[in-house]
């Protein structure tokens, strides 16, 4: 059944999750073949860094709060073809998020320092928050 706007709003806002404490997370979304990483609970805006990465910046202080990696399965396939040992990084179907940021960086091989910097900042953030995510790579 298609929800009216009122029904949708009520259904979404009735969830008590908003009162639960925030914890950094990442989730692979097969609908977008993308991984979204949220490290801080600030409201944000996105800025496309390249064709694979959009970085989220806080509306409060312009600091990075997370990001979205696109084309995840294609990148992972490419990486694992070039570096078969990459698969050992996948444990129980999960992978450390910093590996994904770094592998995206290696796969795209950007020449602009600003792109490299943003990938590295996100990788550092992922390492600090110890976030893992489902890995859409057949091992």
């Amino acid at each position: 059944m298609t929800l009216s706007n009122e029904q949708f709003e009520q259904l979404v806002l009735s969830q008590s999750i908003v009162n639960q404490p925030f914890t950094p997370f990442a989730r692979y979304d097969s609908d977008g073949d993308s991984i979204e990483f949220i490290a801080k609970p600030d409201a944000y805006y996105g800025r496309r860094v390249d064709g694979l990465l959009t970085v989220y910046y806080s509306l409060n202080d312009d600091e990075i709060v997370g990001g979205l990696i696109k084309g995840v399965s294609i990148v992972l396939k490419k990486i694992s073809q070039n570096f078969p040992g990459f698969k050992v990084s996948v444990v129980d179907g999960k992978i450390k998020l910093e590996y994904l940021f770094l592998s995206n960086l290696w796969a795209s091989n950007p020449d602009q320092p600003i792109i490299i910097r943003e990938y590295k900042r996100l990788a550092d953030m992922a390492e600090e928050t110890q976030v893992e995510t489902e890995c859409p790579l057949a091992v």
């Binding site: 806002l13 949220i38 409201a43 805006y45 996105g46 800025r47 496309r48």
Partner: protein
């Protein structure tokens, strides 16, 4: 209101207006094919992702449907980064762009963000999978940044929306 047509783009690809799937919300969105409404799906897990983030929850509940139903423009075809990725999934991906009059910061409702537009990305199966505020193009303030690099074509625009 203008609907753009192209021989390389078949709007019939999207199929019937009704759409449902277990584990997904089904909500109305503007159907650029005929100016009516069609269904867009949103994964229920997206609500869980809003844990501890009231602005994210309010944005999903109030801003996303508004932009889907009153887009300023709709772009089709997400340009692939790699050749291997030039599938129909990307060619028929859609991006709804809107200029909502309000935004959320923590639990507070605020006026719209200056210099920003709101984008909702939809895959070829009409599932909205991500949405966010982004800066507009400084030279063309009605368009999102890097618009021509990112999308293959504009399929709809509404000049009556400011």
């Amino acid at each position: 209101m203008e609907i753009y047509k192209s021989d390389e783009f078949d709007p019939g690809f999207y199929g019937p207006k009704k759409k449902t799937r277990r584990g997904y919300f089904s909500i109305h969105a503007f159907d650029f094919r005929d100016g009516g409404m069609w269904d867009i799906l949103i994964n229920e897990l997206c609500v869980t992702d809003c844990r501890g983030r009231p602005d994210a929850l309010n944005t999903l509940a109030k801003i996303v449907p508004l932009v889907l139903q009153n887009p300023k423009a709709i772009y089709a075809g997400i340009r692939p980064e790699y050749e291997q990725d030039s599938s129909k999934d990307l060619s028929y991906g859609l991006c709804y762009q809107g200029f909502p009059k309000r935004s959320f910061r923590g639990p507070d409702e605020l006026p719209a963000l200056p210099g920003k537009c709101f984008l909702v990305f939809i895959n070829a199966e009409r599932v909205a999978y991500t949405w966010r505020w982004e800066s507009v193009d400084p030279l063309r303030p009605l368009m999102p940044e890097y618009c021509q690099q990112r999308f293959e074509r504009k399929v709809f625009s509404n000049d009556t929306i400011e």
